[in-house]
Each structure stands twice: as C-alpha cells, then as structure tokens.
Amino acid sequence: MAGSTLEIKNLHVSIEGKEILKGVDLTVKGGEFHAIMGPNGTGKSTLASAIMGHPKYEVTEGSILLDGEDVLEMEVDERARAGLFLAMQYPSEISGVTTSDFLRSAINARREEGDEIPLMKFIKGLDSDLDFLEIDKSMATRYLNEGFSGGEKKRNEILQLMQLKPEIAILDEIDSGLDIDALKVVSKGINKMRSEDFGCLIITHYQRLLNYITPDFVHVMMQGRVVKSGGPELAQRLEAEGYDWIKEELGIEDETVEQNA
C-alpha cells in the first residue's frame, strides 16, 4: 500500500462569521509533494488550520477525508493520530515542558499503552535527527519554543515532523523568516521524508523554497479557492512573471479574500 490519501472537497471555512475559504478542492496522496502558492491574504494558512482543526476556524460546507475517514468529525489529537501533521507558522511556546519530554509524549500518544518507545531508542533517534538538522543538542532540554529564534522554531517543527513520521504533512510557510542556510537545512529535512508513504502539502508565497524542494504539483490560491494547478513549471513561471498573468487570465482584480464589512 502506498501511503494515505487526503481528499478536500468544496471546503468552505469561516472565521468569526467571515467566509475565508470558498470551495477548495484538493487531493494529496502518499508519495506526492504539493505546493500551494499565492499572494498574502488568499486563504492558504486558513486551509492549513482548517485541516488540522484550529478551534477558531469553522467549516461551513464541504468535506475533508483521510483514507475515507471523516476528518471533520475528529478532535485535533485524533486527526494527528490518524496521520496528519501541521508544521505551524507560529508555534506556541510551552513553558516548563522540554522539547524532549514533549516529543516523547507525542510519540507515545501514537503507541499503545505498555508499548511506549524505549528511552534509549528515543534518545538515539532524537540525537540523530538533531544532528541531521544541525540543531544544537541543548534544544532537547530547552522548554518547547520558549525563547527560540524564528529559525529555531522552524527547525523544531521539522524535527517534530521527522520524529513523528506522519502520513500527510502540511507545512505552513515553513520558509518564512529563514536565512538561506536555515532554508537549506529545513529543506533537507523535508526531502528526507520523501517516500511512497508520505504526502506533503507545502504552503508558501515565495518560490525560493521550491528551489530546494521539487513539488510534483503546484496550486495557486486566490480569493479563497484554488484557481490554477499545474506541475513544477507553474512555480517557475510564477517566479519569473509573478501572479499578474493569472489574475488577467481569470479576470481577477483583487486576489485577496474580500474585506468588505
């Protein structure tokens, strides 16, 4: 079996009564890397948050299925245990909980009681991923995200991705605020995950991340919908020409979700 399938159909999402997503259709399968691009304010991050179950976002129409199971019926933690992962744009700081203790709790949450990961095995795996991502070992004993720089937070999200090995990951602007060296390391971590059993949805508004991670599919979001899809060549063209040609092609004047009151 080659991984899981995440199916999003006609998804409408509101926040505080305001509709942000207006009918998104998208399917991500194991082995596939999808990039969602688009200018700011077009609903990309809302899509990520809605898939994971952020408490402030309300799905008003449509469906999200993971291998046929209704994701919208699941609590946030159930979605994660079903195989979803969201690398967040703004990860919370959890004072008093070390990165290491948190990771062990998260790994054990996926395992049966009595079948917890052996401590030595956990430490070995963690050390090896820390090395791979060129993260100082001290991060394991620091409180989760507390006092982390922007770059450290992003690396930590990828560390979690590598440790938790989800079926489908959504990366929400994992490249924002990273310098070129950090961007390379983060990309290296994501590329290492590539396999038939792993599908990935990469949200970004810069093409530069895609210089290091080659997507199989590229989608452009505007006005709360996917307005154009294509292969890696679409990202190249966006890099060269920007978004205006798409707006012209589709007759869109303001690509953002309307701010009208």
């Binding site: 959890i94 909980v97 998260a106």
Partner: protein, 435 residues
C-alpha cells in the same frame, strides 16, 4: 477584634511537659512567658484572608511514635521521599513527636556538624540553641501563633554547620504525622556559620482527611557571613490540618539563602516566607509552588527585606487553583534606606483550572532608597487554548496536554528542589492534586 478562645493548656501542663523532656530552665521560662503572651496577643492578619474563625488553638498535643530499625521498614508513602538505591546518609525521621530514625555521616559529625531533634539539641547543645532560638529571626511575641508555638513546641530539628564546613550531601528531615489527631508544633532551626554551605530538605506529611488538627511551624534559617544555604521543602498536610507555617531567613554579609518550597497542603494554610538580607551582598531566591483544590483557603506571603548594600532578592510564586480553592499570593520586596545598589524582583503567576476557584496575585514593592533596581510581574489566567491546540496537533490528548501545561507551569520552581527523589515526590503530589 479578639478571639475569645481560652487556651486548653495551662502553666502546670507546660511545666510538666518541659520537665519530662529535661529542658533547660531558660527554655521552660521562655515557654511559660510565651503562654502568657499567647493569651493576650491576636492572630496574625494575613493580607486579604480572614482567619479569625480558623482553629489554631484546640488540638491534642502529644503523641509518640515507635522507632524503626532501618529505612526499609517505612511505609511506601514515606519511601517516596528518597531513592531506594541511594538511601540518604543524613536523615531525621520524626514520627508524631518521637525520632523514629536518625543518622548523620560520621565525617560530618567529626567536623562538628549537628543534625538532631530539637529536644536532644536543647540538652546537648544548649548554648547554641539558646543563642538562636527565636532571637534573630522570629520573635515569640509577634502574634498569638508565634507565642503559642513557643509555649507548646512539640517537635523539630536543629541543624548546625560550623565555620568553613561545606556539606555536599543534603540533610533531610521527614516529619511524619502518623496520629491523625495530634498537632505538630514544629521548630526547625538551621544555623550556617561563616563560610559554610549546606542543603537541607524537609517533608511534612499527614493522613487526616476528616480529623481536625493543627500544624504550627516556625523555621529559622541563619546564614552567617559568606554562608550558603539551599532550603527545600514539600508540605503535604491532609485536608484536616489547619496550618500556620512561618519560614524565616536571616542573611549576613555575602550570604545566600535559597528557598524552594512545594506547598501542597490540602487544608487551610497561612504561609509566610520572609528573608532579611542584613549584610552587604546577601542574596535570596525565594521560590514557591502550590496547587489548591477542594474547598481550601490559603494565603502565601513571600517577602524579602533588604538592609544591606548590593543585596539581591528574587521572589517567584506559582500557583494552580482548581475546584473551589482560593489562594492569595503576596510577593513583597522591601528595600530599606541605605541599601544602595539593591535589586528586588517579584513574579507571581496563577493558573486557574475552574470557574469557582479564586487566585489573587499581589506583587508589592516598598522602596526607601533611590539607588536601586526593581521589577515585578503578576498574572492570573487560564490554560491557553492555543497551547492545547498545538500540543493536541501532535497527537497528545486534551487531558495529557493540560497535564503537560500545568506541570510545565510549575516546573520553574519544582526543578529547583535540591534532592532528586524529593523533586520526583513533589511531581507525584502535583499529579495527584491536579487530576
């Protein structure tokens, strides 16, 4: 307002109690004198908590406890206080009002270190105890409870570290109230002479869920010039015990007194932790955590008074409140005139887990000198839903996520407890109280 409660103990009772323990005459006099004051003085008035109706005066006064031959004979709840693989070398276990077990490393004894129960100390080290007992730190006549304490003291330990002696292994006391009805009026006196160092950790435990009794605890911690004292405690009196606990430190030149207090009583509690930094360059870090549950009302005052120049006083209080528990946290930094270069900081944070619980954090700065630095912070809040969302998005259940956030909230204080086994035991108590 005076509370009309005639004390159930009189002069002849105290004379007899003191004589039976072969106490020196001055001690007997001190007790009798204190009894008179206890009749006259009023209860203390902790800020924002009314304790006028709390029972501090009616209790059974004495119970003995059997000796034990080795630490292995203790019940499991006491075993939690130490590491089975690495039994403490220096320990006093007080069972009700009797020493059940005690030992002190011979090397330390040879160096002149004293670690024994207060009654033995009154006989064998009379002059030392007399020099410090309720003199420089806590006074007999502060209020009704300090006077009552002196009159009826029925337990405690004396710790003395001579000049230049640095103790690496911690000294540990366990005050085990096995008798559900008996009061514990415990006096802990810790004296570190010049340039000495020690770590002392104490545990209080009782099991009286329904039987009502009293704990009246006075702890005096004296750090002479350049002495360093690390003081840890886990208080775990059951719901039936009404507690007054007063831990007071006095630090002289360049002395350090660090407190790490796990205040986990289930009954009503008034706690004062006051440190006087007398000498120039003296430092104190006063850290305390609590978890309030059930119907209990608690009042925690942490105060550092700075007299010396370039002194540093840091207060950190963290509390978790659930059910209908109510707690007041007062963190007071006081810098006296002349204490130039002093720094004073207070942080009080309260996490509320229920609608009915109440938490009140009051950081207070009282400054009588210009050339100082000071700061304070306070917050009372609920578990952040974004933190829960983040943790749950990694597959952690809501209950476990809340547990992580709560333990994390208390960790900055818990991690400072000096003995690993006691730290672990405190975590267990926290676990029990929050779930």
């Amino acid at each position: 307002m005076t509370v009309d409660t005639k004390l159930p103990y009189d002069r002849s009772y105290i004379e007899q109690f003191s004589s039976e323990r072969n106490e020196p005459v001055w001690m007997k006099e001190l007790r009798l004198n204190a009894l008179e004051k206890a009749e006259l003085l009023e209860l203390p008035k902790p800020d924002k908590t009314k304790i006028g109706k709390w029972n501090f005066t009616r209790f059974k006064h004495v119970a003995t406890g059997g000796k034990i031959a080795s630490l292995k004979e203790l019940p499991s709840e006491i075993h939690d206080f130490f590491d089975e693989e690495n039994l403490p070398e220096n320990i006093v276990i007080q069972r009700n009002h009797t020493v059940a077990f005690q030992q002190l490393n011979k090397d330390l004894a040879d160096k002149g270190v004293i670690f024994t129960d207060i009654f033995t100390a009154l006989r064998d080290h009379e002059e030392l105890v007399k020099r410090y007992f309720m003199k420089d730190a806590v006074s007999v006549d502060e209020h009704k409870l300090t006077a009552l304490h002196a009159a009826l003291m029925n337990g405690g330990v004396f710790v003395y570290v001579p000049k230049n002696v640095k103790i690496e292994e911690p000294l540990q006391s366990i005050f085990w109230q096995e008798d559900a009805e008996v009061a514990l009026i415990n006096h802990v006196l810790v004296v570190a002479e010049e340039n000495s160092e020690l770590t002392y950790v104490e545990n209080y435990i009782s099991n009286n869920q329904d039987e009502a009794t009293v704990a009246n605890i006075v702890t005096e911690v004296i750090a002479q010039d350049n002495a360093r004292i690390s003081f840890g405690a886990v208080d775990n009196f059951a719901a039936g015990t009404t507690t007054y606990v007063n831990r007071r430190g006095v630090g002289y030149r360049n002395a350090t007194i660090d407190w790490a207090l796990g205040q986990m009583n289930d009954g009503n509690t008034v706690s004062e932790n006051v440190t006087h930094l007398i000498g120039d360059g003296a430092v104190s870090n006063a850290n305390a955590v609590t978890v309030g549950r059930g119907q209990q009302t608690q009042n925690f005052t942490a105060k550092i008074v700075q007299f010396g120049k370039n002194t540093d006083g840091q207060i950190l209080q963290r509390g978790v409140m659930k059910d209908s528990a109510s707690s007041i946290f007062n963190a007071i930094g006081k810098i006296e005139h002349g204490a130039s270069g002093a720094n004073s900081e207070q942080t009080s944070r309260v996490l509320m887990l229920s609608e009915k619980s109440r938490g009140d954090a009051n950081p207070i700065l009282l400054i009588e000198e210009d050339d100082v630095t000071a700061g304070h912070a306070a917050s009372v809040g609920r578990v952040d839903p974004m933190q829960l969302y983040y943790l749950m998005s990694r597959g952690i259940t809501k209950e476990e996520a809340e547990r992580l956030v709560i333990h994390g909230f208390l960790d900055p204080v818990v991690r400072q407890l000096p003995i690993a086994a006691v730290k672990k035991q405190l975590k267990q108590v926290i676990e029990r109280k929050v779930n």
